[in-house]
Symmetry: C2
Subunit: 252 residues, 2 copies
């Protein structure tokens, strides 16, 4: 088609694209095509509504079949993120989360910097209508919003992946991140281990009360701990701190 | 959908989007939706393969019906461009034309600058498979190419409009163009009048020979004259020059 260039430098691989609870198979196929247009080849799918494999996804992917065939299936976003160090999630809504929101070009620059520094990255898209839950968005390190005409704002899943893919393909590492600490953040499985450890102990100490406020308290804690960008060593230290504090409490 | 923002500032109107010889109605509809997502509301269609109006275009445009309903139909790209001052065309192929080619973000910055300076602008897309002819591309002031994965380069018409629309919506005027001469370029009808005048006289003088080289000679002349960005006054002056030269020749 008019407007593409076969001479551009290929960048294959890239961040894993995670589709959370996608609904229509054809949207998954369109997302796969958009991924391949911009050199993104690793697709992860969390709890697709219509099961997996999905013939409609394969039909729509024409030419990007391998991305669909090699897609990995997960039960939860936590599971899909476990081996990642850094995750960006698309978000249309204003959220009460204390989390940085960037425009696509800038977010892609951060993602590119992290990726080229060797971190395992992910780009997360919510389901077609509702988007990610706040608990899911809290697991991302950075949110990205695509500015659109407010009178006709809605993009479908394939379009959202296309725009983020375009931005990824054309991004350059940002200067700021090139100067950052060379110690990479822990992978998400280690971070989630810290969440569980801390929440279990806080629950035991009666901190997560009253019960109706518990979900929001946990979400805020997880968002805060994600934002910190802890290294593996940080997490070992913090778990030691929690254990020590609990030991002190239990001895009292 | 995840990734859009209803609070962004609206920019309605924008450059006219010109689809040249589009094939499938559903691609025209998808282009209309992508236009409206990014505040582009004026659609011009040149010689659509399946005639006009096209029910498939309206069906696919759901929500952007007005753009389809108010689309204007033209017989040629020249006619669609007549009232424009500045035109950008998408181009996938390398062309032998002596014409600047920019990436979408940079081209959108130039377009935004021209538009905000009050010039009548256009964004031209070729037909799905073949793209614009070289004669058509020669009429644009600037070419734009979307960098994609060379192993899977092809974008459809709706995707190409979406990416250029996104870039348009997020573009800021470029500093360089803000400093340009305040006299705007003539509209394309005036420029095309100069083409015809000059070509007619050159033909009469036997300059456009041999016949098999005539199309390429005309294309190169048109590309050169387009690149110059002549004002209305420039074109009046040049037509006077041509007339004067012809008078001299005839008197000899």
């Amino acid at each position: 088609m008019a407007g593409t260039n076969r001479k551009a430098t290929p960048v294959l691989g890239g961040p894993a694209v995670i589709l959370v609870r996608p609904q229509m198979g054809q949207n998954i196929g369109a997302a796969a095509r958009a991924m391949l247009n911009f050199g993104l080849t690793e697709l992860r799918i969390v709890a697709p509504r219509d099961g997996w494999p999905n013939p409609a996804a394969l039909a729509m992917a024409s030419g990007a079949d391998r991305i669909i065939e090699e897609a990995k299936l997960y039960d939860s976003l936590e599971a899909a993120l476990a081996d990642r160090n850094f995750a960006v999630a698309t978000s249309a809504r204003e959220r009460e989360l204390e989390k940085r929101v960037m425009a696509p070009g800038a977010a892609a620059g951060v993602l590119r910097t992290r990726y080229e520094a060797g971190e395992a990255c992910a780009l997360i898209f919510g389901p077609e209508a509702a988007g990610l839950t706040s608990d899911e968005a809290a697991l991302a390190d950075l949110l990205v919003t695509i500015p659109t005409n407010p009178a006709f704002a809605s993009l479908n899943l394939g379009q959202a992946v296309l725009i983020l893919g375009y931005c990824w393909f054309n991004a350059r590492p940002t200067a700021r991140a090139i100067l950052r600490d060379t110690q990479p953040p822990a992978d998400k499985a280690q971070l989630f281990g810290l969440f569980e450890h801390l929440e279990r102990e806080l629950d035991r100490m009666g901190f997560l009360h009253p019960p109706e406020k518990k979900p929001a308290m946990i979400r805020n804690l997880r968002s805060l701990l994600t934002r910190a960008g802890f290294t593996e060593q940080d997490i070992r230290t913090l778990r030691g701190v929690i254990a020590a504090l609990m030991g002190a409490k239990l001895k009292r």
